[in-house]
Symmetry: C2
Subunit: 408 residues, 2 copies
C-alpha cells in the first residue's frame, strides 16, 4: 500500500489554524498582514521547523518549507489568508495538506530525486492590492508602477500596511528573483462551488482555471415622475437592465460553453420610490475557461447591451475594471492526477475552476495542476464553509501520491 | 369681454417669490418652516394685505386671504413649499394665480355672492412628516398618534422644527376646527408630466387624481460565487426582479387603464462583482385613478411576483409603506371648467393627475377641481422646471372665470 497522510494530524492543524482570526460572527477574518495573519505566519513557520523542513520566506512574504533533493523544485501549496468573515478551509487546506505530505515523506525516510517544497502565498484573496499578490510577485507578474502607487482596497496605502513587517513594495517586486527553478506546482483546494457535492464525487481534477473580466456598466435614460410620465414616454434605464440580464444569461449558457455571467451589484439613480430611474449602474462579471470564449462573450455582451439601449432609446457605457486570462492545465498533469487517483481507488470528476487561484499565476512559470475536494452545498467565503474529512483525506492522499511521482 | 388677470403682475410675483430659497445649484429649496419658507410666508402675507384681503393663518400654518361675501366659501390655492433643489412653479403658480384673481375681482369692484378665499397650504411636498401636512390637517385627515410621534424624514423631531414658529402638533391637529364652511376648491398647478406638452394643448382639465400605493419588496434566493456556481444551480434573486419588471409594466399597461407601476430603488445583496445576488430589495410605486384599479393592480402585481418566485425557487416578501386613495373630480366641476375654457377660446385636454395634490385631501370636505398647465418637457421637481407665460395666462384666466362662476 502506498504512503498515506495522517488525517488526524492534518485535522488538528486545520482546527488550530482556524482559531487564529476567529471573528465574533463565527467565521475567520485573516487578511494578509492583519494581526491574525501575522500570528498564522508565525504558527506556520513553527510547524515547518517542527517538521524538520528548511524554512524560507521571500520578499513578498511567501513562506516555504523545503525538503531538499538533487533536482529542480516540485512545489505544492496555497494560501493562509482569508476574506473578511470567511471560513477556515479556503487556502488553508492546500498549505496544510502539503505540509502533512512532506512530514510523512520525511517520517518514512523517503529520499525523492527532486526538491519538494510547500508554499504559502501572501494575499491570495486580494485584500490589499488585487488578487494573488504573493503568487503574482513570485511569478514576476506584478506591474511595478501599480504596486508602488499601491492604494489598497480599504484606502490605506500599501506601504503603511507593510510598515510593521519586513516587506516593502521593492522587496515584493524582488520576490521573483528569489524563485527557485520550478518543475511543477500542485494545489489542493476546496471547490468553492456545488458541482462535486451535487455529483457526489470526492475528488475533482481541474482542467482549466477560468479567466475573468470585470466591467462596470451603465444604462442611461431619463428620470421622470412615477405618477405623471406615461409608459410610452418613459426612458426607464432599469427596464434596459431588466431586458439585458436574462438575455445575457441565455447568451452565455447557450453559446459559450464553460462560461459564466453574473450581475452582482446594481444601483438605480436617483433611487427614489416615485422617480423613474434615469440611470442604472451595474457590475458585469464574465468568466470563461477559454481565452477566445472570454473575449467573444465579452464582445457579444457589449453588443447585446448596445442593441438593447438603441431599441429602448437609452445610452450604454462600460469600463474595464479587471481582467485575468484563463489557464489550461497541461494534459500531462491532469493524466498523472487521474492515474494516481485510480490507483488509490478514488472516483474523480474533471471540471473547470470558475474561481481564480494561485496556480493561475504560477502556471506562467511551470506546469501547474489542481485537485479539488467538495464544498458541501457549494459554500465558501462564509463562516458556513466546510469540508468532509473523508474527502480531505482523499484529496490530500492524491496530492501526496502525485507529488511524490513528480518528485521521482 | 370677461375679466382677465394681469399676467405681468403675476409674472413679477412668481419671479420675486422665486428668489426666496434660491439655491447654489440654480434651483429653489424652500421646505416648510425652513428660513426660506418663513421668508416666503411673510412675503405672501404682505401681498395679501396689500391686496386688501383679510389675512388669516390656521394652526397648521396654512395661510388664507379672504374676500368676504355672504355665502359659503369658494377657495382656490395650492402651496409655496418646494422639494429640495426644486423649481419655482410647482405650487407657487396655484397660490399666486389665485391671489392675482382676487386682486382683479377687488380692483373691478365686483361683489360675488359667496366668500372667495386664496389658500396656501403647509408642506405639500412632505419634507416634514408625509405628504400634504397642511391640507391634510385642514381636512381633518391627520392621525394624531403619528403626528405626535412625529419623527421627520430628515431625523429631527417635528416639534424641534416647529420650535421657532407659532405652531405645535396640537395646533396642527386643531386646524380642521378652524376650517370655514366650504362649497368648492379649485387648484391651478403645473402638470409635472409630459402629456399637455407632447399634445401641444395649453390647458388640462383634471378628471381624477391617482391614488398611490408604495411597497418595499424583496426577492430572496441564495448568494453564490460568480465563478463556481453553474447557471442551473443558481437561485439569483436579481434575475427574479429582471423577470418581474417588464411583466409588471406590461400588466399595468395592458390590463389597468389609467395606472402606472415604477421600480425606482434597487439594492442587490451582498452587492459584489463576484457574488450572485442572494437578495434584491426594490421599491414598487403603483398608481391608479380608480380605487378598484389600484387595489386590483396591487393584488395582481403581488401575485405575479409570487408566481415568478415560485417558478424560480426564490422567496418574495413585501411591506406596505404608504397608501393614498384616488379622487374623482365631480362632473359638475369638470363641466364648468370645460365650459369656461370654451368661452375663453382655449383648447383643453381632460387628463388624470398621476401626482398627488392638496386638492386630493380637500376633496374629502367639498367638491374640488384642478386645472393643469403644461410642464415643458414634462420636467418638475428640478431647477429646469418651467412654464410658458402664455400657458400660465390661460390657466389663470380659466381659474378666474370658473371661480367667479362658482362664487356667483
Amino acid at each position: 500500500m502506498s504512503l498515506r497522510i495522517d488525517l488526524d494530524r492534518l485535522h488538528k492543524d486545520l482546527e488550530d489554524l482556524g482559531q487564529l482570526g476567529r471573528d465574533p460572527r463565527g467565521g475567520v477574518s485573516r487578511p494578509s498582514f492583519s494581526r491574525a495573519d501575522l500570528e498564522a505566519r508565525d504558527w506556520l513557520k513553527g510547524r515547518i521547523r517542527e517538521a524538520g523542513l528548511e524554512l524560507r520566506e521571500d520578499g513578498a512574504g511567501n513562506i516555504f518549507g523545503r525538503l531538499p533533493g538533487a533536482g529542480r523544485v516540485v512545489m505544492a501549496g496555497s494560501h493562509l489568508d482569508t476574506v473578511v468573515n470567511g471560513g477556515m478551509f479556503d487556502g488553508a487546506v492546500g498549505v496544510l495538506a502539503a505540509l502533512e505530505c512532506l512530514r510523512r515523506v520525511k517520517e518514512e525516510g523517503l529520499a525523492p530525486v527532486k526538491t519538494m517544497e510547500v508554499a504559502s502565498f501572501t494575499d491570495e484573496e486580494g485584500n490589499l492590492v488585487g488578487d494573488f499578490l504573493g503568487s503574482r510577485a513570485f511569478a514576476g507578474l506584478i506591474d511595478p508602477d501599480a504596486l508602488r502607487a499601491g492604494q489598497t482596497s480599504f484606502g490605506m496605502p500599501l506601504k503603511d500596511i507593510l510598515a510593521g513587517t519586513a516587506f516593502t513594495p521593492e522587496t515584493i517586486l524582488g520576490a521573483s528573483r528569489e524563485r527557485p527553478d520550478l518543475e511543477a506546482y500542485l494545489e489542493l483546494h476546496i471547490e468553492q462551488g456545488p458541482v462535486l457535492d451535487t455529483e457526489d464525487v470526492p475528488v475533482g481534477i481541474v482542467e482549466a482555471i477560468a479567466g475573468k473580466c470585470w466591467r462596470l456598466c451603465s444604462f442611461t435614460g431619463r428620470a421622470g415622475h412615477a405618477g405623471t410620465t406615461p409608459f410610452e414616454l418613459r426612458r426607464d434605464a432599469f427596464l434596459g437592465l431588466a431586458d439585458f440580464a436574462p438575455k445575457a444569461t441565455r447568451l452565455a449558457a447557450a453559446e459559450y460553453e464553460g462560461s459564466m455571467v453574473t450581475i452582482g451589484k446594481i444601483t438605480a439613480h436617483p433611487g427614489a420610490f416615485s422617480i423613474i430611474p434615469g440611470q442604472v449602474d451595474f457590475s458585469l462579471d464574465v468568466r470563461s475557461v477559454s481565452a477566445d470564449g472570454l473575449a467573444g462573450l465579452e464582445r457579444a455582451l457589449l453588443t447585446l447591451a448596445e442593441d438593447i439601449a438603441a431599441t429602448r432609446g437609452l445610452g450604454f457605457v462600460s469600463k474595464l475594471i479587471d481582467k485575468a486570462e484563463p489557464v489550461r492545465i497541461p494534459a500531462r498533469i491532469q493524466d498523472l492526477l487521474k492515474e494516481e487517483a485510480k490507483k488509490l481507488g478514488y472516483e474523480t470528476l474533471s471540471l473547470p475552476s470558475g474561481a481564480g487561484h494561485d496556480a493561475q499565476m504560477i502556471a506562467s512559470v511551470c506546469e501547474a495542476g489542481m485537485i479539488f475536494i467538495p464544498s458541501p452545498d457549494g459554500i465558501s467565503h462564509s463562516p458556513e464553509e466546510s469540508v468532509r474529512w473523508e474527502d480531505l483525506d482523499k484529496g490530500a492522499n492524491l496530492l501526496l501520491a502525485a507529488w511524490l511521482r513528480l518528485a521521482g
